[in-house]
């Protein structure tokens, strides 16, 4: 059997462990999502793109655990999450609507050593492709890329319902520059004057608005499972090697 084409990032791994977080700040992120800023004094830091598990416990001992990507990265005890409310969900409506500053949460992490980006000092381009809340780990990568002044050209294609549903809208706009391109694709409503562009991402969108396969970008795709499945298969059809495409599927359809 041939050699394993999938190599892991050469990183000194931060071992996942349980941590107690205190909610420092809460703010609406979009009409359906909230940003959670958590103080986690024991947090070991995390690579851009990593996630963690949040565990909630009811008075009778019942527990529910869900994974959330981390919007922050590096050596910090401030951990930022952005949670979109899934209607009738068990955990996300609680995090978005019931949580208050000062509340404590149990976290387990950091998790995920594959869907991460580290400053590389090579100039291999990086294409990020997000659907909805799937932008969270990709925003962490783009912010980490800017903070490190990494030379690799970055481009983010971000599919979102309306301009009001853009996560980290101001932060992403501020990152745009010679080494970072931002392409927003609206599925329901575009900013004034762009109504012609509305629609779901297709293979043609990818061909027109992402770094071409010929430049061998490292591609990160994140979002609802159906979105990731469709995008990843179009990327293969457009000539990207499977080993160049890393995916994170958030669930749903």
């Amino acid at each position: 059997m041939s050699a394993d084409p999938l190599t892991r990032p050469d990183t000194a791994r931060r071992r996942p462990a349980w941590h107690v977080a205190t909610v420092a700040e809460l703010a609406p992120e979009t009409p359906t999502a909230a940003r959670l800023v958590l103080d986690v004094p024991t947090w070991p830091g995390n690579d851009a793109g990593a996630h963690l598990d949040v565990r909630l416990t009811a008075p009778d001992g019942y527990q529910a655990t869900r994974s959330y990507s981390i919007a922050s990265s590096g050596e910090t005890s401030r951990v930022v999450l952005a949670v979109d409310e899934v209607p009738d969900g068990e955990v996300s409506p609680f995090l978005v609507r019931e949580l208050r500053p000062g509340d404590q949460l149990e976290l387990h992490g950091p998790l995920g050593a594959f869907f991460v980006w580290q400053p590389s000092r090579d100039d291999r381009p990086v294409q990020l492709i997000a659907g909805g809340s799937g932008v969270v780990p990709l925003y962490a990568m783009a912010a980490s890329h800017a903070a490190a002044a990494d030379p690799a050209p970055f481009r983010l294609l971000y599919s979102v319902r309306t301009p009001r549903h853009v996560f980290f809208a101001d932060e992403l706009a501020a990152l745009v520059g010679p080494a970072f391109d931002l392409d927003l694709a609206y599925t329901r409503e575009a900013p004034d004057g762009r109504q012609g562009d509305i629609g779901r991402i297709t293979k043609d969108t990818l061909a027109a608005r992402t770094i071409p396969a010929a430049r061998r970008p490292q591609v990160f795709v994140c979002g609802p499972t159906g979105f990731v499945e469709a995008v990843a298969s179009w990327l293969r059809a457009l000539g990207h090697a499977a080993a160049d495409i890393r995916t994170e599927r958030f669930g749903g359809t």
Partner: protein, 197 residues
């Protein structure tokens, strides 16, 4: 160290004793993969067991099916905290594949189309506890879920049930596979919550 989360009551529930700790029952079937979904034609599919002499034991798709496909009912537990109970599967027992394979080695690296690997002790694959699964819920296994064939080792966390499986390589030691190098536990017993290391 667990404490009650202020304001959280959770969904109405009766905890099913078949659910290992930290797992939530789901009705749908979530997908966990690290990359694009490979699509493999059964006409080209092949399964290989490589022993310590380097000898390959090979089966085509039809040869695999000819070993005998059994009905299986299994509870499956994903490391990302969801479980499905009483899931109907069909597949070929790994015991059948090892009938004519002699090996002194105690460990196996499962290899998949697409390059993924996961390590499993041989004893976890034998004695009617593991299959090469080709159907789930009465349908041919969907590529998203590892079709045309995936390993099915339901007593371990589900990443050990390698999707798109194409072979097993005998190993003297329990070397970590792709998922284990990326932080998942070497063995992955859901009842002991062996999720990460």
């Amino acid at each position: 160290m667990s404490f009650v989360t202020r304001g959280f009551s959770g969904r109405a529930r009766e905890r099913d004793p078949r659910l290992p700790p930290g797992q939530t029952l789901v009705q749908d079937w979530p997908v966990l993969s690290a990359g694009p979904t490979p699509r493999i034609d059964t006409a080209e599919w092949e399964f290989v067991i490589r022993d310590e002499t380097g000898a390959d034991h090979r089966w085509s798709w039809d040869e695999l099916l000819a070993l005998g496909v059994e009905d299986i009912t299994a509870d499956i537990h994903c490391v990302t905290h969801w479980s499905k109970l009483e899931m109907p599967w069909r597949g070929v027992s790994v015991d059948k594949l090892f009938e004519n394979v002699e090996s002194q080695y105690d460990y196996v690296m499962a290899h998949s189309y697409g390059g993924y690997t996961t390590n499993v002790p041989l004893e976890d694959l034998l004695d009617g506890r593991a299959w090469i699964a080709i159907e789930a819920d009465g349908e041919p296994l969907d590529p998203e879920h590892g079709g045309p064939a995936r390993l099915l080792v339901p007593h371990l966390y589900f990443w050990k049930s390698a999707k798109w499986v194409r072979g097993l390589v005998m190993m003297p030691d329990d070397d970590p596979g792709f998922w284990e190098q990326n932080g998942y536990h070497l063995r992955g017993d859901p009842w002991k919550e062996e999720r990460y290391w």
